[in-house]
Amino acid sequence: MDLDLLGNILYAMVRCGTPLLLVALGELVCEKSGVLNLGQEGMMLFGAVVGFIAAFVTGSLWLGVLMACLAGMLLASLFAVVALGCQANQVATGLALTIFGVGLSAFVGSAWVGKPLSGFEALAIPLLADLPIIGHMLFNQDLLVYLSFALFLLVAWVLLKSRAGLILQAVGENPDAASAMGLPVLRVRTLAVLFGGAMAGLAGAYLSLAYTPMWAENMTAGRGWIALALVVFASWRVLRVLLGAYLFGLASILHLVAQGIGVSFPANLLAMLPYVATILVLVVLSRNALKTRLYAPVSLGQPWKAGR
């Protein structure tokens, strides 16, 4: 394998890992606050379709990105009302959100399937892009990928270094104690859910405006679910989310690698790889039940109401 090919594979890996990274960062924040939102796939799809339509109609890609984030937040707010406001079962509510998002996005986007749009172009950063191997991978991407780097740094800083991160984790680990300390548990959780929605919407916009600039039904192809597995894989640690996202990105582009080294394999079988990899990763990581329990936020998935 020559260096050019390696550079291209790494480049495609980052491109492919970016939507996963975005959703997983949103879900990580959400789960850190103790809320399990299984609706990522639905929010992502709705973000993708709304972002595409907005960009198509207005001709502004960035307006599309903004609308996609808002669309994700809109669905997330529905989740917040039902799961946090009405204290419904979070698993069922998240599933409902995904089913709703899949249906809603297909309904809204039915007239837009297959329309062409010129999406975000790669923007090489002078000098850095010429670095061997990593130059192409890190500094010859489109603006949304750079944005994902920035968002990763932001989330990592918030979770690891900031007071807001401490509050978030206190609410997720022990909402009763956090509430007794005067922290607004439900408000923190709602904000975390909304942030998750915005990130899922952004990830959807990345797919429909940069990765493959078009809209197709179910174009996320389970990435929202893979991101959920990714958070478990990362044992709720932010740096591992980054590594995991790119690892899964690599699994999704293995057909490129196979072509590169001259192995031919049916496309549909190769398309299974990311899903098989997800199961394998879950198996390896969850085998030790104690470890999963140690790292997971203690109140994850449990409804909470003041004064109970």
């Binding site: 409902a96 709703f100 249906g103 049916p266 549909n268």
Partner: protein, 366 residues
């Protein structure tokens, strides 16, 4: 005016039944609003969606035909969900059932004997059960979350099916369409009536309905499943074996979904095609919840869901509305149901006073 929720002392039995009805009503109202926003006559659209498809006998038989796979999947899911085993994999189990059944049917395409059908159905159900068992194995041996594994298995099953219709099972005389050869007559499910497509698979639904009802409501095994669902620790203390129940629940729901899949290919379709299921396995999740995991409730919810599918097709043909309407209504209904369910444990109360303390003060003075 302020709407507040007061906890009830015990859960409201009336709301257990009323909440799905309320959710259906809210969905209808939201649908009507949506249609008028889109510039359609809301009543006419609802008529096209919900009444026109079943206004004749043929329509009714189509309704039963559509309800068949949804009901089979949903009944299986009810068993799993009663044990709080979140099997989201009915879609994949259905597809694998269809795939395995087709593989056998193509292999024995020349058989004349009626046994062919039996073997095909058996192959489909077993394959579905095995696909479910895979998730059970991953959960009991490796502690892997079944929500994520079953979802992933859905995507794997879909790709496996696509691979087979493009490769090994493709009809060599099919003009390079991705589909298998038509099955032999011996492995097709015979129709029930002369002028409808509904087939003897309907008896499977009735059998499954009774079997699941007996299992959940009349058997010790069903009791164990429900205890496990209500309180995992309690089930452990009385010595119910969790692992065995997980296996059982996933085998049953997988087997029924597999049967649904193979009934589709050897029933109305007659060959393996990429679009075996327009999301029946996911629709079944909504149906199971809407029917309160109770066989009779599921029967009603399943027929309603089938009506939505038919209505979606009808609305697309006569009003040019996107068929995705079905999915949208599905999601709305499930969402409204979960929101309405809050009324089971809480009583809504309208207070006319803006101040928060008011109800407490009023209660104290009374």
């Amino acid at each position: 005016m302020l709407l507040s929720l007061e906890p009830r002392t015990q859960q409201s039995r009336a709301m257990l039944v009323l909440s799905p009805l309320l959710a259906g009503l809210l969905t209808l109202v939201s649908g009507a609003i949506l249609f008028s926003a889109l510039g359609h006559d809301p009543l006419l659209t609802l008529h096209t969606l919900l009444i026109e498809p079943v206004s004749d006998l043929y329509g009714l038989s189509e309704l039963l035909l559509k309800a068949l796979p949804i009901l089979l999947c949903a009944l299986g899911l009810a068993v799993a969900y009663q044990a709080r085993i979140w099997n989201i994999g009915a879609e994949g189990q259905l597809l694998i059932g269809a795939l395995a059944g087709s593989a056998l049917a193509i292999h024995i395409i020349d058989w004349e004997s009626r046994w062919a059908l039996l073997w095909v159905l058996l192959a489909g159900s077993l394959a579905g059960a095995l696909w479910g068992a895979l998730a059970a194995w991953l959960r009991t041996h490796f502690n892997a979350n079944e929500i994520l594994t079953t979802i992933m298995l859905n995507y794997i099953a879909l790709n496996l099916l696509l691979y087979c219709v493009h490769g090994p099972l493709k009809d060599p005389e099919g003009f390079s369409f991705p589909q298998s050869a038509m099955f032999g007559d011996a492995s097709r499910l015979p129709a029930l009536f002369e002028d409808g497509r509904v087939h003897v698979g309907l008896y499977f639904v009735l059998l499954a309905l009774v079997a699941v009802w007996v299992l959940l409501h009349k058997s010790f095994l069903g009791f164990q499943i429900k205890v496990l669902g209500l309180d995992q620790r309690a089930a452990g203390f009385v010595g119910f074996r969790e692992k065995r129940l997980v296996w059982l629940a996933l085998l049953i729901s997988g087997g029924l979904a597999g049967l649904a899949g193979v009934s589709e290919v050897s029933g109305p379709i007659g060959q393996l095609v990429p679009q075996v299921s327009p999301g029946y396995g996911y629709a079944a999740i909504t149906v199971a919840f809407l029917g309160r995991l109770n066989p009779l409730g599921i029967l009603v919810a399943g027929l309603l869901m089938a009506l939505l599918y038919l209505g979606g097709e009808n609305a697309q043909m006569s009003l040019n509305l996107p068929q995705a309407l079905t999915g949208l209504f599905q999601g709305m209904m499930l969402f409204y149901l979960l929101a309405c369910d809050v009324l089971i444990l809480y009583r809504p109360r309208l207070t006319l006073n803006w101040r928060r303390r008011a109800p407490v003060a009023a209660a104290a003075s009374a």
